[in-house]
C-alpha cells in the first residue's frame, strides 16, 4: 500500500502535475464563482484540454477543478447572494448576512478554511473506503458487472426527483444512443445510417459536453436575467484562531453529513450542505445566530460540500458508477484516456488512482493558498459581462469539440446533444439520467450477452451467484424506495391539501 502511495506521490508531485492542478484549482475557483457555471460544467469545459495529458495528470487537474469550484461557489454566495454552485446554496443564508455587516473576509475565510479541512478529510475517507471496496469488486465476473450496471441504472430513480417516468425515459434515451456503432460481438453496424462517422459509436465526451455545457449556455441565452454585481466595500480579513476553534462542532457535523450524503447516490453537495446547516444549528450553543450571520452557519455547509468532493468519487473509482454530474465528467475523462474505472483500476494502473488520491490532497492545499490570493481577481470575473462570457465559452466548447478527433462530426454532435439537453431541461427530463444510460449502456449490454453466452442462455445465472443476486436486490430496493417514499409523502400531504380546498 505504501509503495503505491509513493508511486502516486511521484506522479502528483511532478512539476507538470502541480502546474496542471494549480491551473485546475484556479479555473475551478473562477468557474465556481460564475453563476451558471457549476463544478461539473467547469470540468466538462476543460475535457478537451486533457487530450495530450497523461491520464493521471488529467484526472488530477479535473479533481482540482472540482475542489476549486466548491470554494468559488461560495464567493458569489457570500458577496452577491447568488450561489455559484448548488452546493453553496446553504452558504448564502449566513454568508450574505456577514457581508452586509462588512465581515466578508471572515465569511470567505471560514468558507475557505473549513472547505479545505473538509476536502482533506474527504481524501482520507476516500482512501479508507475505496481501497477495500475495490478488492471486493475484483471477484466480479460478467453477471456481477451486469447486475452492477443495472444497479447504476436504478440510481436514476434517486436522481429523478418527482418525475420518475421522465427520469426513466431519459435513461432509456441514453441507453439507445449507447447502442449506436459496431456491435462488439458480431461486428455488425447498428444505427450508423450507412455512414462511417458513427461506426465507433457516439463519442461520450462530445455528448457530455453538449448535454451539460452547451445546453446550459443555450438556457442562459434564452432565459437569462441580468447578473447581480458586487457593490460596496468589503474586508478581506480572515477569521482568528479563536473564532476557528469555536467552529469545530459545525465542522464535525459537516464531515459526518458530507460523508453520508456523498456515498448515497443522488445525495451530493447541495443536500449535504443543507442537512449539515440544520444539524449544526441543532447542536450549536448559539442557534439564535443562525440566519443572522453565524460563522457556524457557513462552516457546516462548506465543510460538508467539500467532503462530498472525495466521497462522491468512491462509487466511480471502485465500481465505475458515476453518482453525480462531476463524477460523470471524471468518468468521461477516464474513458477518453482509455482508463477503465472499476476494480481493475487499482490493480492495473495504481499510479493513476493513487496519484489522484495524493493529487486531491495537494489540490486542497492549493485551494487554501489560491483561494485567498484569487479573491479579488475572482470578484472581477463575477462582474464580467455575461454576453462576453457566454460567447467565449461557446467558442471554447466548439473548438474543444473539434479537437476530440479533428473532424466536424463531433462538433455537430456537441451542438445536437446541446439542443437535446436544452429541450430536456426545458421539459423536465433529466440530463444526468441520460448520461448514466450513455455511459452504462455498453457495460450492461455486453455483460448481459456475455453472461448468457457463458450460461448457454440460462437467465438464472444472475440469481445463483451471491454478489450478482445481492446487487440485483439492492438495485430493486434503490429503484422502489424513492417511489415508496414519494407515495408516503403524497399520502401525508393529501389531508392538508384537502383541508385547504373550501
Amino acid at each position: 500500500m505504501l509503495e503505491r502511495f509513493a508511486l502516486g506521490a511521484q506522479i502528483a508531485l511532478q512539476p507538470l502535475s502541480l502546474l496542471m492542478m494549480l491551473f485546475g484549482v484556479a479555473w475551478g475557483i473562477i468557474g465556481g464563482a460564475l453563476p451558471g457555471i457549476s463544478g461539473s460544467i467547469a470540468m466538462a469545459l476543460m475535457l478537451p484540454l486533457t487530450f495530450g495529458m497523461n491520464p493521471a495528470v488529467a484526472l488530477m487537474m479535473l479533481a482540482g477543478i472540482y475542489i476549486g469550484a466548491m470554494y468559488g461557489g461560495s464567493i458569489t454566495a457570500i458577496l452577491i447572494r447568488t450561489p455559484g454552485t448548488p452546493g453553496a446554496a446553504a452558504t448564502v443564508i449566513d454568508g450574505y448576512e456577514l457581508h452586509k455587516k462588512g465581515l466578508s473576509g471572515k465569511a470567505l475565510g471560514v468558507s475557505l478554511i473549513t472547505g479545505t479541512v473538509g476536502g482533506m478529510v474527504s481524501v482520507f475517507i476516500l482512501v479508507a473506503l475505496a481501497v477495500p471496496l475495490s478488492k471486493l469488486a475484483l471477484a466480479f465476473g460478467p453477471p456481477e458487472y451486469f447486475a452492477l450496471g443495472v444497479f447504476g441504472l436504478a440510481l436514476i430513480s434517486s436522481f429523478a426527483g418527482r418525475d420518475l417516468l421522465k427520469g426513466a425515459i431519459s435513461g432509456l434515451l441514453g441507453l439507445i444512443v449507447a447502442t449506436a456503432g459496431t456491435d462488439p460481438f458480431s461486428g455488425t453496424p447498428r444505427f450508423t445510417f450507412g455512414g462511417t462517422d458513427l461506426l465507433t459509436g457516439v463519442e461520450i465526451v462530445a455528448g457530455m459536453i453538449g448535454l451539460f455545457a452547451v445546453s446550459e449556455m443555450l438556457q442562459q441565452i434564452a432565459e437569462s436575467e441580468a447578473w447581480a454585481v458586487i457593490k460596496g466595500k468589503f474586508s478581506t480579513d480572515l477569521p482568528t484562531w479563536v473564532e476557528l476553534v469555536k467552529l469545530k462542532m459545525a465542522m464535525f457535523v459537516g464531515i459526518v453529513m458530507g460523508t453520508i450524503e456523498g456515498l448515497l447516490p443522488g445525495g451530493g453537495g447541495a443536500i449535504a450542505a443543507f442537512i449539515s446547516y440544520n444539524e449544526a444549528k441543532r447542536w450549536s450553543k448559539h442557534p439564535e445566530e443562525f440566519g443572522h450571520g453565524s460563522l457556524e452557519g457557513i462552516a457546516a455547509p462548506e465543510t460538508a460540500n467539500n467532503v462530498v468532493t472525495g466521497t462522491a468519487l468512491i462509487p466511480l473509482l471502485t465500481f465505475g458508477i458515476p453518482g453525480s454530474n462531476s463524477a460523470a465528467v471524471m468518468l468521461a475523462a477516464m474513458m477518453l484516456h482509455g482508463v477503465a474505472p472499476g476494480p481493475q483500476l487499482f490493480e492495473r494502473t495504481p499510479q493513476i488512482v493513487y496519484g489522484l488520491f495524493v493529487g486531491m490532497f495537494v489540490a486542497n492545499i492549493m485551494m487554501l493558498v489560491l483561494g485567498y490570493l484569487s479573491l479579488r481577481p475572482a470578484i472581477a470575473i463575477v462582474n464580467i459581462k455575461r454576453p462576453l462570457l457566454l460567447a467565449s465559452i461557446l467558442a471554447l466548447v466548439l473548438v474543444g469539440a473539434y479537437s476530440i478527433s479533428n473532424r466536424m462530426f463531433e462538433v455537430w454532435l456537441v451542438l445536437g446533444t446541446g439542443l437535446l439537453g436544452y429541450g430536456m431541461r426545458r421539459f423536465g427530463f433529466n440530463i444526468l439520467a441520460m448520461v448514466l444510460g450513455l455511459v452504462l449502456g455498453f457495460l450492461v449490454e455486453v455483460n448481459l450477452r456475455r453472461s448468457l453466452m457463458i450460461s448457454i442462455g440460462n437467465p438464472w445465472v444472475f440469481f445463483t451467484r451471491p454478489i450478482s443476486l445481492a446487487l440485483l436486490i439492492f438495485a430493486g430496493f434503490t429503484l422502489v424506495w424513492p417511489i415508496v417514499r414519494q407515495a408516503r409523502e403524497h399520502r401525508r400531504m393529501l389531508p392538508l391539501q384537502t383541508a385547504r380546498v373550501p
Partner: protein, 172 residues
C-alpha cells in the same frame, strides 16, 4: 386543455413514434454469431419498446393527472442531484434561442471553409449581440482576444491544428 397538457401529450406522441422507429431500425440489424443467444438486435429492440411504452405512460399520466402540479411537470432543480447549474431562469426568449442556434450552425458550417481565425471573431460578436451586447469596446476587442487566446491554447499549447480555411498558406 392547457398548453402544458398539450405539450406533454406532444412529447408522449413523439416518444411513441421514436420508440417505433428504434424498433423498426433494430429489425434491420442482421443476426450475429450463433453462440450469442440474444444477438445484436435484441437490446435495441427492447429499448425501443421501453421508450414507446414510457411514451404511452407519459400520455396516460398527463391525461389522468392534468392540472396537477406534480408528476409530469417536475423541474430540473428536483432532478439533478448535486452540481448542475441552477435554474435561475428569466423570461424565455425564443428569438434569442433561435438566433444562437442559427449563429452556431452557421459558425460550424463556416468553420472549415472560412477557417477558425475568421469565423470565430464573427461568431463571438454575433453571440454577444444576440445576448444584448456588451459595450462598443468589448464588441470591438473581445472577439479578437478570445479568438487569439483559444488559438494560442489549442494550436501552440495543445498542438492541435484548427482549420485555416481561406488563410491556408498564410497561417501555419
Amino acid at each position: 386543455m392547457s398548453s402544458a397538457v398539450r405539450r406533454e401529450l406532444a412529447i408522449a406522441a413523439f416518444l411513441v413514434a421514436f420508440g417505433g422507429a428504434v424498433v423498426a431500425q433494430a429489425r434491420q440489424i442482421p443476426p450475429g454469431v450463433t453462440t450469442d443467444p440474444l444477438g445484436p438486435a435484441a437490446f435495441p429492440t427492447a429499448l425501443g419498446w421501453g421508450i414507446g411504452v414510457c411514451g404511452l405512460l407519459l400520455g396516460a399520466a398527463t391525461l389522468v393527472f392534468r392540472g396537477q402540479s406534480s408528476g409530469t411537470t417536475a423541474v430540473l432543480a428536483d432532478a439533478t442531484p448535486d452540481d448542475d447549474a441552477s435554474g435561475e431562469g428569466g423570461p424565455f426568449s425564443p428569438a434569442r434561442l433561435i438566433g444562437a442556434i442559427v449563429a452556431t450552425a452557421a459558425y460550424l458550417a463556416a468553420f472549415t471553409p472560412l477557417g477558425y481565425l475568421l469565423a470565430t471573431p464573427l461568431y463571438v460578436v454575433v453571440i454577444m449581440l444576440i445576448h444584448g451586447g456588451a459595450g462598443k469596446r468589448a464588441l470591438l476587442l473581445a472577439p479578437f482576444l478570445v479568438t487569439a487566446a483559444l488559438y494560442a491554447t489549442f494550436r501552440y499549447g495543445l498542438l492541435i491544428p484548427v482549420p485555416a480555411g481561406i488563410l491556408e498558406g498564410i497561417v501555419r
